[in-house]
Symmetry: C2
Subunit: 666 residues, 2 copies
């Protein structure tokens, strides 16, 4: 890692400065030293070999770093800088931080600048299948797998490791959480050869692998009659599997598991609990310091649409809160940001503020499954900020998700990526949006989401604007106009996307399966538990305690009361929590129907604005990328018009309420 | 064919009589002769070798036969029978006819019984893909193809030939009309080896092959820059292809073509007409006596749902009527029974009564894509009878589809399966419902549809009841109770299916793509041109001239006026032709909404009745088939309840009209 940090620094400086940089040598002295150059090393070495007060480079802790200006240390010598890492990963991140400062024009710090990541675990989940397809992938085929095995040529994976290190991501699960047979076989001797190669390619960039495993592995691979976690032979099978896996990849982070959910096998098949399921695997991994990342995305996907009592939003909380305290210390629940499934607008999942004796990870979706499929520009850090900044009040005011969950500051003990017997991991997991498309993410602007995920996991207090401006400068250069326009488009984009899709937290008006484009009642009579229940008067599920499913009771005060009360409920979540008549007046003074019409028309106009603003950059952005973005913006406009017309027609046909401005409602 | 006829007769008689039958010899004399046995031969041979008046066996014409009782011809000799075929195919059909008479208990005729098929062409279209999958197949994999080529072991195909001959089917297109690359390659040298084997397997059963071809063959296979039918090189390519195909299969019927439809390539891509497209292929086939079966299923499947003027129901007529007279004589338009696409209730296609100088074939769908997917019992001959008996009034009263189209009695010249230069073919095409499932059709009772298709193409005047009773006896034996119950279920089944799915000719309330189960607005905002346009007051597309799309003008009088007038419009088609308010009173005295509720509840109750009646046969039907049918009836009931609840909820939510009988509307 230190060597990679040094060479990245040299290459980066050369490109940024436009001139060769004298070769660095290993260790604490020599060319590129603190006077008139860059010194890079861990704190332990720095103390031995560098001048200066010890306080300047007192160990910044695991993965952290301090950038110390060394100009003036010795009279007459030119200014220099030292990057002192808490460990080798810290050096890597410090090197990229310095490059970022230079590239964004921020420059060298005047006083020692110290950073350390807030989230110990900053992880990507790929939903890549061994055949090379990517579930919910919008940027081509998998970079990790092809033809049933790990890609032969790992050059792209190494480039990806570099990309991940540059934004501080330190873990990766390469295979889909929906684990089919081919995915399950990755833990066999045959599969592990490729996994070991993949781990070796990413290790120098500070990225540890995890594997998604199939809970029925004991049956599928072991030929056992059961995968019941309470059967001793099942535990034996997992222990043997762990031995085999860790022999191949000694620094494996652990296993990701989606169990008893959406057709994946799990402990429920045997009447066992999710905790019993997680713990049998955790026990097998503990001797190797491995962890279990256990997905909390568990709900009844065979729901009867006639059933108006069961509420999918309540499922994860109901499943896991009774198990609080029952999970092994090296298990963390991986919890989606909202209680449903990555809609463009949901309240924070109440489980993030519950189960205090359970280690929890925040999971967000970088790939734009429900947020425009990498055709629409939709910059997601503002959405993620909402959940990171959400004050759950779990321990009174100030209990933010960033602190309780991501930094691991909750009651479940200190955070870390443990060895056996130590407390469980904390952090943030993002479902990746990359593929083998040359620009990684299909839409060039979708790169900003990957960048933003890494930056927020590192430091949740960064503003979305700061992230957007950083990314724009790093990606499109120093032109202030370009940076301003891009930042403006990015920051507006999620609200714009929301405004022309489904309104006020309603969600789910998408085409089933693909989730691409509008189909207002596509999920209305199906088994997935997501209903609008629109009739000729009103729309939405009432989730209040007083009149509805009682979902609001899963929140601490004051949220419980705020969400319960339709007058105090945040307007953008009105239809998530309440059933509202089309003719009802909203606080803005217009009816619900009129709000829908206005919002959808305004959204389309905003996309036209994006196009106009992007057009102005024609001579400021290289033609290839300018055309690529312009093409997608045109496709976005067409799709936005379709959304507007379908959703408006839907509300008009149901309500009979004409548009106050006489626009067509079809 | 004569040899097959003889051996089928011998085998059939042995099984029916339960004792060995003395071996037949070839020709007109010897064992099995007219006295005390069965004589089988063509009319030409019969005249030379059999006693009796010539009138008894005057040639019954192509494919026809006469069954002549010979008892008493010579005193003291036991009764016998002669089967005299107009040609070898006639002998085959006569042999099976005799077996059918015996098996159904009808017995030998007292006087000479003469039959000839009404439809010269009685054909099945398989939608089988070379990879072995079957589009809209509900009975397993293809019996014709596997792994990209014609099945290696053709034993099942030979059994199928026997099955087809027994119901008089004389032609088969084995590959899907949606022709992908693998299907297109069947006309290459490599593909034709398998096709020749397939043809050889079916030839002894009187079944001729046709091939579905890809209009872009000149590009895909020939490497030409165009498939424009007006380019000489394109005609050359088709001629070369025809030479190659006919060298491999000299008696090939011809080519089936779906062009410029649903993504299939066609002449429209070059600004050429459907006639120009058909004729270039027809010209290539003419020297070999081949015909082009050109599908009339052409419509705009990229329609804008906002467009309320374009009406998919009008498409085929608008496309083809202006081309009347422009088609080569060996082209026939293959026209679906209704103007849309095989819904459970549609009016007859107006194109069947139009374009008098164009040879037309009637296409029906035996596979139950929209009629229960071979889980629901849905006996289709009653539906097909409606269209066969429909009096188009094209040449005044009495112009039935059976006579004008199927028998080819229209103005477009005499019917037949022509050699080059002769008039075009006439007849009936059915999309097959078979697969490699042991019982051919998945649902045992779905066999009755294949049987009924063959019988109706042979003789459209047969009643649906007669067909049902025949099939029940042939399939389940002589038990009168079994026959009565089965006939009752079959005859009621289509009306029952209709009653609990979408009402009054509305159609299209199905799940997109799979077409399985209800999704009332699944197609509402999509590109397929099939809309309900339900709002809070009314539902349906007005297709009248006075107020709507003007579709009714495509019919001759009196239908034009009948369909135009909502008072005279057949009630079962009310929502096909008219937009009706939920609160409007129907002639039955209940509102539209109440009619929907009542119909859907009654339909489910009728399915319960089927189950009860089938249960009574438990000791009269072999356990395996009894259980197979019972299992599907239970699945049908579950699905019917889902249809009832979804459609009723849909109408209730839109209309707000409560059920007069207080049943739940969800």
């Amino acid at each position: 890692m230190l060597r990679v940090a040094g060479s990245e620094l040299a290459v980066g400086l050369e490109r940024l400065l436009g001139r060769p940089v004298a070769g660095a040598t290993d260790g604490a002295s020599g060319g590129g030293g603190p006077d008139g150059g860059v010194w890079l090393g861990t704190a332990a070495v720095a103390e031995a070999g560098l001048a200066g007060t010890a306080a300047d480079w007192a160990s910044p802790g695991p993965e952290g770093f301090v950038i110390v200006p060394t100009a003036g240390e010795r009279e007459g010598a030119p200014g220099g800088v030292a990057i002192i890492g808490g460990d080798e990963r810290g050096c890597l991140y410090g090197a990229f931080a310095l490059l970022r400062r230079i590239a964004t024009g921020e420059g060298l710090p005047a006083t020692p600048h110290r950073e350390a990541p807030v989230a110990p675990l900053r992880m990507l989940d790929h939903w890549d299948n061994p055949d090379g397809s990517v579930e919910r992938g919008y940027a081509g085929r998998s970079i990790c797998f092809s033809g049933g095995e790990v890609t032969h040529d790992l050059a792209r994976v190494r480039a990806y490791g570099r990309l991940l290190a540059s934004v501080g991501i330190n873990a990766l699960a390469p295979n889909n959480v929906n684990v089919g047979r081919a995915g399950a076989e990755l833990v066999t001797a045959r599969g592990l050869g490729g996994i070991a190669r993949l781990a070796a390619a990413l290790r120098p960039f500070g990225v540890r692998l995890a594997l998604s495993v199939n809970f029925a592995g004991p049956i599928l691979l072991g030929g056992l009659p059961t995968a019941d976690p309470r059967e001793p032979m099942v535990g034996d099978w997992w222990r043997t599997a762990a031995e085999r896996v860790y022999a191949a990849v000694p620094d494996l982070l652990g296993f990701v598991v989606k169990a008893s959910s959406e057709g994946q096998p799990g402990p429920h098949s045997y009447g066992a609990s999710q905790a019993e399921g997680a713990n049998v695997i955790a026990g097998a991994l503990a001797p190797f310091g491995g962890v279990v990342l256990w997905r909390a995305f568990v709900y009844d996907c065979e729901q009867d649409w006639r059933d108006t009592v069961t509420d999918r939003a309540k499922a994860a909380y109901e499943e896991f809160v009774p198990l609080d305290g029952a999970f092994a210390p090296n298990v963390a629940l991986q919890i989606k940001n909202g209680p449903m499934d990555f809609q463009v607008r949901e309240p924070p999942s109440p489980l993030l503020g519950a189960a205090p004796r359970t280690r929890k990870l925040l999971e967000v979706q970088i790939t734009q499954e429900y947020t425009g499929q990498q055709i629409h520009v939709c910059f997601l850090p503002p959405m993620w900020k909402e959940v990171l900044d959400f004050d759950t009040h779990a321990r009174g005011p100030g209990s933010t998700v960033a602190e309780l969950v991501v930094a691991g500051g909750g009651e479940s003990g200190p955070a870390g990526i443990p060895g056996g017997g130590e407390p469980g991991p904390a952090g943030m997991v993002g479902v990746a949006n990359v593929g083998d498309e040359p620009g990684w993410t299909g839409h060039p602007l979708a790169q900003a989401n990957l960048y933003g995920f890494g930056r927020l996991a590192w430091q949740p207090s960064l503003s979305a604007e700061a992230i957007a401006r950083e990314w724009a400068a790093l990606t499109f250069g120093s032109d202030e106009t370009v940076r301003d326009v891009l930042t403006g488009i990015l920051l507006a984009s999620r609200a714009v996307y929301e405004s022309y899709t489904s309104p006020l937290g309603l969600g789910w008006m998408v085409t089933p399966h693909t989730h691409d484009g509008p189909d207002p009642e596509g999920y209305e009579y199906s088994r997935w538990g997501t209903y609008l229940r629109a009739d000729r008067d009103a729309i939405g599920v009432d989730r209040s305690v007083a009149r509805g499913t009682g979902f609001t009771a899963q929140y601490h005060e004051p949220w419980r009361s705020i969400y319960e009360d339709r007058e105090r409920c945040p307007p953008e979540l009105l239809l998530f929590f309440h059933r509202v008549a089309y003719a009802e007046s909203l606080p803005t003074g217009v009816t619900l129907a009129q709000h829908v019409y206005d919002s959808h028309h305004a959204g389309v106009e905003a996309v036209r604005g994006f196009i106009a603003r992007w057009q102005e950059l024609r001579d400021r952005v290289d033609p290839v990328r300018h055309a690529a973005v312009a093409r997608r913006l045109r496709a976005q406009l067409k799709s936005a018009e379709e959304w507007r017309d379908v959703i408006n027609a839907y509300f008009h046909r149901r309500s009979g309420i004409p548009d106050a401005h006489g626009r067509p409602l079809h």
